[in-house]
Subunit: 307 residues, 2 copies
């Protein structure tokens, strides 16, 4: 990675990589323990959940919980638990999005999708199960001793996942196959579909530290900007990326006739916009010192990643 | 309704009917307000949720929350809110269970199923949305001022809905199409598939009143017995019931080659067992006085209903 305008270099890259590796290992260990396979007819359900949830993915959302929690010296074991909940929610959404009646995808994270490896009914139930588990894990007293914090986390995650968040964005995405959306509508779609859960991940770090809503404003602004930058980068990768690295089918949006940031802005403007959003995101962190290094690094990673 | 051995007559039937009508109207009003249709591309999602959630169903689960809450003088506006959450969870499960890859049903509550009235993708997302909304509504500060109570409710509902509850039972039910289960396994299947959410509904009334787990034991025992009686009655109705009254296709289990309480016990023994369970359920309420009349009445209704 080359030196950048802000003078950050390889040093932070290794901070990011170390944190990402640690979070990924922690998430896999938690999933492994919590998704222990029962010896009864539910065995297939647990195998399907493990297939989707373990050993893959960038673990971006748990990484964001950890990075935001670090700002307020949150115990990393706690931010990892919240990270596992948000990752379970994310994985459930991937399983359902991949279904034949939705995006009809065969490959995800370099493996067959759940309905291909198992069957559609199992995929529906594995998604439903991870959806419920996300809330069960979040509200476990071990996640936070203060029930107010637990209930705040549940509230924010439910809002981010439901029809005013991820599920609503997915519905707009279905409509995008038949209606041609303009840039403000695509922006809103993506704020719901991917932005809401990214926003939760960042805000959760502050909620764990009992930071009141006013104090979370810079983090919400950071999350809004990186969420959008993430999706623009995704649209660019959908056109220019490598399927083997991505571990999923690419060029699907164009084939479905959907408007994306790339079709609406052109690839050069899209790239410039993503870069601008990263600068804006890190500017929102100006009130923080070195403890925000990981969040800054993640913002850059989000647009520079190759998968 | 004829006089019964325990001497309860028409008087309680009208108590039950009045409570059921009041709860049904309250649930419809809450759903109507909370599922207001937005004027954006998510309109179809909200219409699909309203199609499934409003104007139908026995509202048994919200009725149980109200009846259990009445034991401890819980504000009925609060038990109605919790009832709306558990009903949203129940409706989501019906939408997903009816999908072509699951039970492939065309009619539910006398109307076309969601995937028939809309499409499969919308049905998946309408179910997912109601699943998230159940938790969002439960954890709303208006549901209970004490965050500990809210987080307890979320924990119990997540356990009842997830792979150790409803979703796990549904997975066993899929397996029942290819493996012939014995009576203990069918009992366990039904305890997860329908019993867990019925158990939550009853226990929620006590949680709202901050009754500690030890104090909820007779209610848990009552719920276990009526949950099983409910499923035996369902299996009997599946054979003897009227499709027009039921508002859904009947005789499906036999056609799918699944073992049920009726196939395993014969209809006479199944009927006797259901009746025994109702007696047992009401016996668990012996420590309560007249304030448990509605719960007793519900236990009888569960096996005497014609839909």
């Amino acid at each position: 990675m080359a030196a950048r305008a802000d003078g950050e270099t390889v040093v932070e890259a290794s901070l990011l990589h170390a944190a990402q590796a640690e979070v990924a290992a922690g998430i896999d260990a938690l999933f492994d323990r919590r998704l222990a396979i029962p010896s009864d007819p539910r065995e297939r359900l647990y195998r399907a959940m493990r297939h989707a949830a373990t050993g893959g993915g960038k673990r971006l959302r748990p990484l964001l919980v950890r990075a935001a929690g670090d700002l307020f010296h949150v115990d990393r074991a706690l931010s990892l638990r919240v990270g596992a909940a948000v990752e379970a929610m994310h994985v459930y959404s991937l399983i359902h999005d991949d279904l034949p009646c939705m995006d009809d995808d065969d490959v995800r994270r370099g493996k067959p999708t759940v309905h291909r490896a198992y069957d559609e009914a199992t995929a529906v139930l594995a998604g439903d199960s991870l959806h419920a588990l996300a809330f069960e894990w979040l509200v476990d007293p071990a996640t936070h001793a203060d029930p107010f914090v637990r209930s705040e986390l549940v509230r924010e995650l439910a809002l981010a996942a439901g029809p005013a968040g991820m599920a609503g964005g997915q519905m707009m995405d279905l409509a995008a196959e038949t209606v041609s959306f303009d840039l403000p509508t695509v922006t809103r779609l993506q704020q719901l579909k991917t932005g809401a859960l990214i926003g939760f991940s960042v805000e959760a770090g502050a909620i764990l530290a009992r930071v009141p809503p006013e104090g979370r404003k810079p983090l919400r602004a950071y999350a809004r900007d990186i969420g959008l930058a993430f999706q623009i980068a995704d649209d660019i990768l959908d056109v220019e990326g490598d399927e083997a690295l991505a571990g999923k089918a690419l060029n699907k949006d164009a084939a479905a006739g959907k408007q994306t940031f790339v079709t609406l802005m052109g690839i050069d403007r899209a790239r410039a916009q993503a870069s601008l959003l990263v600068d804006q995101a890190t500017a929102h962190l100006a009130g923080f010192g070195d403890e925000a290094r990981l969040l800054r690094e993640i913002a850059h990673y989000i647009v520079e990643r190759d998968r």
